[in-house]
């Protein structure tokens, strides 16, 4: 039993990692009161930028950094539109996703079908040899450990640091934050850039470590699932982690079910992650009070300091 479960859990963590990055980034963005629906587009750009750089330089880490930078650059477009030009955040986010789809497909053209050769995930010394936990937790790609560090950092920043308090107050009430003298727009800019950078890393993880390959539209809805996760987590980082791995698990489970010979039509199994997202959203949103208590009050509204 354990023997079959260990690979499932190990694969679950890898499958959940792009979601961890993207959702944690979006969480910080939304905490500052900015709703960026362009996660899917930013992940795609992060994926192609990361993959192209990794292929050209042969350095996977350089690829990851490039993915991060590209994701941040995409979010900067969004920030100019919504924070400086006061464009509608929903429309701008959708535009960002559509633009990301087109741009990544265009730039990615010469990289279609190129394969990135890389070693399998390394096993951490000592930890990797632990029974059960070793193969599940400590034989992952290094970026998986980075995602855990990011989780710790985001949790500390938001709820234990002064800067995090300022960021949250900007999300709750930009007017009073402005009155106290905080630069609302600048803080929102930074939060948006952070979200874009992490979405870019999530995309780069997919293309450079997970697939590792570039395919047009390869993010395949993960950006949207990340957005759903933030709601699911009621804007709390720890729950984002739980949610991300839950969805990773659903994605993986369908393969194990098939390989184990369970006779459910494959399309139904493939639909599981999406149906699960809807169900989870319904369960969380059902209680209006939970959402109202937890969601940043000014989420999605333009703010002009005058």
């Amino acid at each position: 039993m354990i023997d079959t479960l260990v690979p499932i859990f190990a694969a679950t963590i890898a499958a959940g990692t792009p979601l961890v990055f993207a959702a944690l980034g979006e969480l910080v963005t939304e905490k500052a009161g900015v709703l960026n629906l362009g996660v899917e587009g930013m992940m795609l750009i992060g994926a192609i930028a990361g993959f192209a750089t990794a292929v050209t330089t042969g350095n996977l880490w350089l690829g990851t950094v490039a993915g991060m930078a590209a994701g941040a650059a995409m979010s900067a477009i969004f920030a100019v539109l919504t924070l400086n030009l006061m464009a509608n955040q929903v429309a701008s986010g959708l535009a960002l996703t559509l633009f990301g789809l087109g741009l990544s497909a265009f730039v990615g053209k010469p990289f279609e079908g190129v394969s990135l050769l890389r070693e399998g995930a390394p096993s951490l010394p000592l930890l990797g040899d632990l029974p059960v936990l070793g193969p599940i937790l400590f034989r992952q790609h290094y970026l998986v450990y980075v995602s855990w560090a990011v989780f710790a950092a985001v949790s500390w920043f938001l709820f234990r640091s002064r800067a995090g308090l300022v960021l949250r107050s900007v999300g709750e009430s930009p007017d009073s934050a402005h009155a106290i003298g905080y630069p609302v727009i600048r803080i929102r800019w930074l939060a948006t850039l952070f979200g874009g950078a992490l979405a870019g890393v999530g995309g780069a993880f997919l293309a450079v470590f997970y697939a590792p390959m570039w395919v047009e539209g390869m993010v395949a809805g993960r950006g949207w699932i990340a957005l759903a996760l933030v709601v699911f987590a009621t804007w709390r980082p720890a729950r984002v982690m739980v949610g991300a791995y839950l969805f990773g698990g659903v994605t993986i489970a369908q393969f194990f079910a098939q390989g184990g010979g369970i006779a459910i039509p494959a399309p139904f199994l493939s639909a599981l992650p999406y149906l699960a997202t809807i169900i989870v959203l319904v369960v969380i949103s059902r209680n209006v009070a939970t959402i109202r208590l937890n969601s940043p009050v000014s989420l999605g509204r333009s703010y002009r300091p005058d």
Binding site: L81, A87, S92, G102, G181, A228, P267, Y274
Partner: protein
């Protein structure tokens, strides 16, 4: 001296018309730079992209054929967007429309009754509405974001269609390949111009634009939706039922998307395939915004968008450019438009460096 944005007393009507023009010009300039950067002669590239595809009657017919689903869906989506109902799952609703219409066509296979096509049209609209009703129900009953649920249902709809054409609806004479039988004459839209592929579904799309115009700009319900979108509180004060707006916004979008699905399977495709749309449901979102959520704007935007698609193909054959360049153009157009929109509600003012204190009292400039 520096430039400052200042709030206008009321939105500028002039700018409302100028902004899209502004965006189009900016897109052309960006395109010029892009083609030059790719080592193409920009004039020749523009010719290939924007003129070559519509050089003859067949080209124009293809343009209208491709614009038809875009305008149809976009006008439906615009009704919802005006009321702040964000249905982004039109692609899934289109797929369900195709499934429902296809089901009718297959059930009445070989029937020559003139009622088959009308029945397909009704079934397709119902299919799209049913799929849109799910997010509407979840939003009104459980407060669940329709943005996310409608999008997730796109993936589910596509998988459902895949299951059907690989399984129960597979052509019995088709060597088990994943496609349905080809529909018979009675289940296809009649052609409008012989020798081309332009069919009567285009008339339906034009009718939708007209109805959309009357509904949005001349009916009380349309007025209610607009108010609900602009000022939630005012709408509530006036006694407009917010739930009703959500239902209406989603169902109208679902119905038009479903009709677009019928137009595809009873038009150029003529059967059910694993995929019935190259992303019309998503492109229509751009069309709705570029058209400023106004039916006339949507009509023009859909033609422009369709031209971008055809141009992308021509660029691939004539200039060896990847067809993905279409997506680039579409994205840029939308960005420039969203950016230009700022001038509708704000105006640029030149202010002296010493003056900002008067504009931003706390000096907390961004």
């Amino acid at each position: 001296m520096q430039l400052k944005l200042e709030t206008r007393a009321e939105p500028s009507r002039l700018m409302g018309w100028l902004a899209p023009l502004f965006a189009a010009v900016l897109t052309l300039i960006a395109g010029f730079i892009l083609f030059s950067a790719l080592g193409r002669n920009p004039v020749q590239a523009f010719y290939t992209f924007f003129v070559y595809p519509i050089r003859d009657l067949n080209g124009v017919a293809e343009l209208l054929l491709k614009a038809s689903p875009l305008m149809l869906i976009a006008v439906g989506l615009a009704c919802g967007y005006r009321a702040n109902v964000w249905n982004i799952g039109a692609e899934g609703q289109l797929t369900l429309g195709a499934i429902f219409a296809g089901g009718v066509a297959l059930y009445f296979y070989n029937s020559e009754s003139p009622l088959v096509l009308p029945l397909m049209i009704v079934a397709g609209a119902i299919g799209g509405m049913l799929w849109a009703a799910i997010p509407a129900f979840l939003r009104t009953r459980f407060n669940t974001s329709e943005i996310l649920t409608s999008l997730m249902l796109v993936y589910v709809a596509v998988l459902l269609l895949s299951y059907l054409v690989h399984g129960p609806w597979r052509d019995p004479q088709g060597f088990n390949f994943p496609q349905s039988r080809q529909f018979t004459e009675s289940a296809l839209y009649p052609m409008l111009i012989s020798g081309t592929r332009l069919n009567a579904s285009f008339l339906l799309s034009i009718a939708a634009i007209a109805v959309g115009y009357l509904f949005l700009n001349r009916s009380f319900l349309g007025f209610q939706m607009r108010v609900a979108g602009q000022a939630d509180a005012a709408a509530r004060y006036a006694g407009f039922d917010a739930r009703r707006m959500v239902w209406l916004g989603l169902l109208i979008g679902g119905a038009t998307a479903g009709l677009a699905g019928v137009g595809e399977v009873a038009g150029p495709i003529g059967q059910l395939l694993p995929s019935v749309s190259p992303g019309y449901g998503f492109a229509a979102i751009i069309v709705a915004f570029v058209g400023r959520l106004h039916p006339v704007g949507i009509l023009l935007a859909s033609l422009l968008m369709s031209l971008l698609y055809l141009g992308g193909e021509a660029a691939q054959m004539g200039l060896n450019l990847p067809s993905a360049i279409t997506g680039l153009f579409q994205g840029m157009l939308l960005f420039f438009l969203l950016g230009s929109d700022v001038f509708i509600n704000y105006q640029l003012k030149l202010v002296r460096a010493s003056a900002p204190a008067a504009v931003a009292p706390l000096g907390a400039t961004s």
